[in-house]
Symmetry: C2
Subunit: 264 residues, 2 copies
């Protein structure tokens, strides 16, 4: 994908109030989604309670990729609820309007006045229509993608060839990304001049950022594990994830001016 590629904003994805924080860069959107441990998927459940439709959210695992080099990027989703989700469309043949959100919180921004408190964050929302993947090759592609996106190299380091029973009970949902946007907030607090010039207030109120980030703990073996040492690919994953996590949150407080905290 060309570094300059961008999603075309429409009514669904356009930044309204915080236009300067809104980005349409495909690399940024894909990075936020693919580094997020859990995605939130929204769709409409059937009519109940005299409402025409009721919005619903399911937390799901997923990742963005292109199945072939000709394809546009798609979001693949996997979860126990795919089946339920697809019963909502007639026999799984209709396409379902969907929104998928990925959010990382990088810090709590504390200002003199609560009105100016904020969070440092990176969030992405993707909009499109979802459909069930039916090709066995593409289902396998998506299973490997989603497995290794969560835990690098896990697919090839486990019994990854699915049994017939596993394949028939696996449902993969593919959403073609029609439009998407990302929002990124970095930096410290920013207060009103009246507060900043109030020496008594400034003298007693700590202002700044408390960075926050996700870490991986020491692996805990199952009661039937026979592999004595934690394999290198898992040790590397834990070490790499943890070494980058804190630095990223601290960098978000004072991002290098060159990139404004936004990655391509």
């Amino acid at each position: 994908m060309a570094p300059s590629a961008a999603y075309k904003p429409d009514e669904r994805s356009k930044g309204v109030r915080l236009a300067k924080r809104t980005h349409y860069d495909t690399g940024l959107v894909h990075n936020i989604v693919n580094t997020c441990s859990i995605l939130h998927v929204s769709f409409n459940a059937p009519a109940i309670h005299n409402e025409p439709q009721f919005p619903t959210i399911l937390p799901m695992l997923g990742a963005i990729a292109r199945y072939s080099t000709d394809d546009i990027a798609s979001l693949y989703l996997h979860g126990s609820s795919v089946a339920r989700l697809f019963k909502l469309t007639e026999g799984g043949t209709q396409e379902l309007p969907m929104c998928v959100a990925a959010t990382h919180i990088d810090g709590y921004v504390l200002a003199l006045a609560p009105f100016h408190n904020s969070c440092n964050y990176r969030s992405a929302v993707c909009f499109g229509h979802g459909s069930l993947v039916t090709s066995p090759e593409e289902i396998l592609f998506a299973l490997e993608l989603i497995t290794n996106n969560s835990v690098p190299e896990r697919w090839e380091n486990s019994r990854s060839a699915p049994t017939k029973a596993e394949l028939t009970s696996t449902a993969i949902l593919k959403m073609t990304i029609e439009t998407a946007s990302a929002k990124v907030r970095t930096g410290g607090p920013s207060d009103d001049r009246a507060d900043s010039q109030d020496r008594e207030l400034v003298g007693r109120t700590w202002t700044g950022v408390v960075p926050t980030y996700t870490v991986l703990g020491a692996p805990v073996e199952s009661d039937y594990n026979q592999v004595k040492a934690v394999p290198e690919y898992l040790d590397d994953w834990v070490a790499d994830a943890n070494s980058m996590a804190e630095q990223r949150a601290v960098d978000a407080v004072d991002p290098p001016p060159a990139d404004d905290g936004v990655e391509g």
Copy 2:
């Protein structure tokens, strides 16, 4: 709230595929929501692209509380997007069907076969109708609630009395929780017998759980901070959050049988 209180499941909140993991206990739902750093809020945007409605997700800050002891529990939301959200209802006078989700990932569960990989998690979804809060007293109540829910004691340790301008430009959305459910997954992996009895596979495949949790880093002062030492209430928040986070993720692997990892 009585410890035995529970939400009444309906078509929106009922656990279908994973009924044994689904809980309706109000204490559990409220705990998952109020300890989640960011909530995902779903609603329907107006008709576009020949769709009757299109689902949208916004990440927002919020918390559940009762405004008075007679009230039922409501979810209060605050964010820069409340205004945009409420333009969707006619002048903010109509109630908006909404879903709010809160998700914590406690661990990556690695099985012999990727089909049996899972996550340890605690998630909650709440359904109801949202409306704009108009009472200045209830807006203040919600601002203090949401501020202190994110950062304990921050409200009283900053310039918390809002100015007139702040109050008029603050929008708080209140969702009465009509139904809600929580899902909790704890424990290690569980594999098919054929895989568990495959000595070659078991001998080369590490199985277990990689705990994951969120931590708070060392506070970074703003360029206009004048308070030399980080105040005790912030130090305590960071220390308390971090001391509990790892333990909770490790406990999720092997929860005490008494509570099955589920808190009241």
